[in-house]
Structures are given as structure tokens and as C-alpha cells.
Amino acid sequence: MRIPPKITQVIAVAILGTATFLTVVILVFIIGFVLSKGLPGVNAEFLLSAPKDMGRAGGIFTTLVGTVLLPLVAVAIAFPLGVGTAVYLSEYTRETQLTRALRFGTDCLAGIPSIIFGLFGFIFFVVMLKMGWSLLSGGLTLAIMVLPTIIRTSEEAIRSVPNSYREVSFSLGATRWETVLKVVLPNALPGIVTGVMLAIGRSIGETAAVIFTAGSSLRMPSSVFDSVRTMSVHFYILATEGISDEKAYATAAVLILSVLLVNLAAYGMMHRFISRRAR
């Protein structure tokens, strides 16, 4: 018997709707569960005081600092390298087998599990180069991890700038570099910033690679050679060493809120750049 299309539609929508509802419920449950267990422990004191007693007491201030500094170092290294590479690949070279192979290579590197970066970073930066557990070791490792992403998104952003912009610039007598600096990059900025935001987001959530390279020191870092603990690492240690479930949930709540903040900032920046361009 052939079922009339209107009925298959109802059935299909019901199934899809249930699936979506289930997804949303799961996601909301996770966020809600962590926030409900964690938010009560989050207050100004928690955010601003240093961890005491391995994290059983006190707050998470030093880990907040670590969570801000580590991605900063990583992006400070990866941003110029990545955008520069993207500019060079799209503006100064022609599309050859080599560039295609390079692009495929960077895509693959983007897929390598982070634990392997951690292993590499530990052996190469921490031990071989004698940098020890430090912001620098962690930052370099994270930079290599996010470099493919930044190159990829920057390249896409640069390529999406219409060629007409470049041609107009050339016809006005500008050199290639001037064109890149004054025309292409400003127009590609939203896409580039998205890539950087993705990189920052990934660095904040990274645990495996960070523990083995940046270490897990609870001290305030005084230089780039000091070890730091990020909130993700702190949460992991609190949870798995059975130190304090309460503080663990509170740290997780702060983590979720930070991700929310970073996402909102990214959206805000995107809208601002888009509306600016529209002017």
C-alpha cells in the first residue's frame, strides 16, 4: 500500500523532530548539570584567589591566568606564521602540485590526535631543547597544533576576497604587498579572526598536550619559562585525583562560561566587521 506523501511527511518530521529534541535535551542536560553543580561554588573570591591545598581550598586565579596566557603565547606564535603562510600561498604563488600537496599535508596534521602532539612536545621541547615544563613549551606545542587551522581558515578568507578588489588596487598603481596590506587583509579579517578564535577555543579545552608540556604548576607564572596550569588541566587533576568534586564542578562551570564568552566575543567581532564593511 502506498502511503500518501503528506503522511510520510508527518512521520518524517516526527522522527527528525524527536532526534533533534533528544540532541538538544542531551546538550542542555550536560550544560545544566555542570552549571547547577558548579555555579554555587563560583564567586568573586573563587575567581580571584589562588588555589590552596592542591585545589581543595581557595580559588582558581592562577589557573585563570594560565588559561589566558597559554593560548596567548600559542596564538602569538601561530598567528604571524599562519597568516603569513596563507598570504604567501594565495597571493605570491601559483596553484601547483606542490601547493596542493602542502595543503593536503596541513589538513592531515590538523587531524593528528592531540596526545601525539603532547608526546612530541614533551620529548622535543621539554626534554631535548631543555625548555622544561613551561608556557613556552606548551605554547610552541599548541602553536604547531593550531597552525594548520589558522593557515586553512586564513587562506579561505583571503581567497574569498573578490579578485576585482585586487585588480582595482593594481590599476591604481599599488604594489602586491600594498594591495595585500591595505585591501586583501582588511577584507579577509573576519575569516582570519574566526580561525584565531577556533585556535583559542581549542587551546583552552586542550588537556592531554598541555599537561605534558606546560606542566601543572599552581604558581603564578613570572616569565614565559615558568610552568602554568590551565583550568582544563586543573579540572582534570581535581576530578581524577579525587581532591574535591565541589571545586572540580566549579572549575568546569567557569570553563563553560569562558567558552560562552569567547564565542560571544567571536560573534560580536564578526558582526562588527561585517557591518563595518557594509558601510
Binding site: 542531551i26 546538550l27 590526535p113 601525539i116 608526546l119 620529548i123 604594489t175
Partner: protein, 285 residues
């Protein structure tokens, strides 16, 4: 002077590009240099197909871990792919824009949550549930598959959404003009048009699931044994690297890099498939 500035710009950019690529090459070479010789030392067949993992005794069979990684990833996709694609279709085609504006950021929020939080929730909430309702220790293939499935949902949903949204409206209008219902236009036209993007999202999610370490260590049980049921504990390739890392020197450490090479090869293959799927989409346009 302008001429000079131009040359400086070009050569400094070239330098930058080569440094970046050099650093990426560095890590690739490092991993291969440590891992590949090991595979010949121990023998590829013994490495990949032996179930005897005992680094202290010089035994490096990672077969149980390969099976575990495959089961867990496959399980994760069984959960994440249908839910994700269904969600993407539903949100794009059957839901008003206002609802989308709320749901999309929520999903992206989830994409940013660290994996260790998921792992912890798995230990505190999911594993005990599995243990009481299905037996076994709770820490199992099932627990890992569910947690990973949830973790890759945002990836599948957002990339599939992009693919579906990229289908030109003319396709939808054309189908509706021919008298199709909404659902008919979706499954006969739009999904087919967005197919390569959807497949790409699933394959990318698979790569992520394969590479996940922290969450899996917390919920999978880490037993070196080929699982017989979904409630059996397992150890994935990534968990093995993390667990053995601190104790591994010499040959054992090379074994971990070799495991990394295996993962690298598998993910490279997956990426190649995804890339060709996307390429075919671009060509179709």
C-alpha cells in the same frame, strides 16, 4: 624604494611560510622517524595483529587497541551521525529562524567544552547507569561510544548545516513548484545535493572521535582485551599512548610513536575520502 619594499615583503613572507611549513614538517618527520623503524624492528604483523601487549617483556601487540578504537569510533558514529544529520536537516528545513538563533549558539557552546568535562560526566553519571542497567563494570565500549557520540554531535551538525544551507533555494522552490511536500523536497532533492558535505562532516567527526584521548581514558576502562560485548571495558590506541607515555623509554616509546603513525595513516585516509567528497560537490556546482 617601492621596488625594494616589495622584494623585502615577498622574501619575508616566503621565509615565514617556509618556517611554518618547516615546523609542521618537523613534527611529521619526528613521529615517522621514531615510529617507522620500530615497525620494522618488531615486524608489522606482530605489531598490528598480536594481542600480546607487554612492553616490559618486549611485546608490542596493539591489536586489541585497534579493535577497541574501531568499535568505539564506529559506535560513536552510530550515535552521533544519525542524531547529528537529523538535527541538521530538522533545524535547517523545519524550524523557524528564531528558534535556530537560540539553538545554534548552544550547539557551538558544546563544541567548545573541554573533553575532560565530558569524560568526568561519563564517570559520574553514565558509567554507573550502564552498570546498573546492563551489567559489567560500567566503564565500557558503550560508555565511550556514547560520550564520544555526544562530543562529535556539534561537528556533524554544524558542517552538515553548512552543507544544507549551501543548497540553493532554487532547488527547494523548484521541488515545491512541482508539487512536492516539504519532506519530499528534502529527501529527494536537498539531501542529495548536500550529500557530499554531510558525508564530509561524518568523516571529519570520525577523525575527531578516533583522536580523542582524555574522555576515553576516563570512561572506557582501559583493559587490554578484545571486547566481547558492548559492556566490556576496552583500551583505545590513544588511551594506550597516554597511559604508557610516562613509563615508556627506548623501544616502548618508539612503540607509542608507531601507534601514532598508525593513527596518522588512518586519519589521513579518512581526510582524503572527505576531501574527495567535498571536491565532487564543488565540481557539481
Amino acid at each position: 624604494m617601492k621596488f625594494n619594499g616589495e622584494k623585502i615583503a615577498k622574501y619575508s613572507l616566503m621565509l615565514v611560510a617556509f618556517s611554518a611549513l618547516a615546523s609542521l614538517l618537523l613534527i611529521a618527520v619526528f613521529i615517522l622517524k621514531e615510529g617507522v623503524p620500530f615497525m620494522f624492528k618488531v615486524g608489522l604483523k606482530d605489531f598490528l595483529f598480536s594481542s600480546d601487549w607487554n612492553p616490559q617483556a618486549g611485546k608490542f601487540g596493539i591489536y586489541p587497541m585497534i579493535v577497541a578504537s574501531l568499535y568505539v569510533t564506529f559506535g560513536a558514529m552510530l550515535i552521533g551521525a544519525p542524531l547529528g544529520v537529523a538535527g541538521a536537516i530538522f533545524l535547517n528545513e523545519f524550524v523557524p529562524k528564531s528558534v535556530m538563533r537560540v539553538i545554534k549558539p548552544t550547539i557551538e557552546l558544546l563544541a567548545g567544552i573541554p573533553s575532560v568535562v565530558f569524560g568526568f560526566l561519563g564517570v559520574m553519571v553514565l558509567a554507573p547507569m550502564i552498570r546498573s542497567y546492563m551489567g559489567g563494570p560500567g566503564l565500557s565500549v558503550l560508555a565511550a561510544a556514547i560520550i564520544l557520540g555526544i562530543m562529535v554531535l556539534p561537528t556533524v551538525i554544524s558542517i552538515s548545516t553548512d552543507a544544507i544551507a549551501a543548497v540553493p533555494n532554487s532547488y527547494r522552490e523548484g521541488a515545491l513548484a512541482l508539487g512536492a511536500t516539504r519532506w519530499q523536497s528534502v529527501h529527494m532533492v536537498i539531501i542529495k545535493a548536500a550529500r557530499s558535505g554531510i558525508i564530509a562532516s561524518i568523516i571529519l567527526a570520525m577523525g575527531r572521535a578516533l583522536g580523542e584521548t582524555m574522555a576515553v581514558i576516563m570512561v572506557a576502562g582501559n583493559t587490554v582485551k578484545i571486547p566481547q560485548t558492548v559492556t566490556d571495558p576496552v583500551r583505545t590506541l590513544t588511551a594506550n599512548i597516554a597511559l604508557e607515555m610516562a613509563n615508556a623509554t627506548g623501544l616502548a616509546r618508539e612503540a607509542l610513536f608507531a601507534t601514532g603513525v598508525v593513527l596518522f595513516v588512518v586519519i589521513m585516509i579518512l581526510n582524503a575520502i572527505a576531501l574527495s567528497a567535498i571536491k565532487s560537490r564543488v565540481r557539481k556546482k
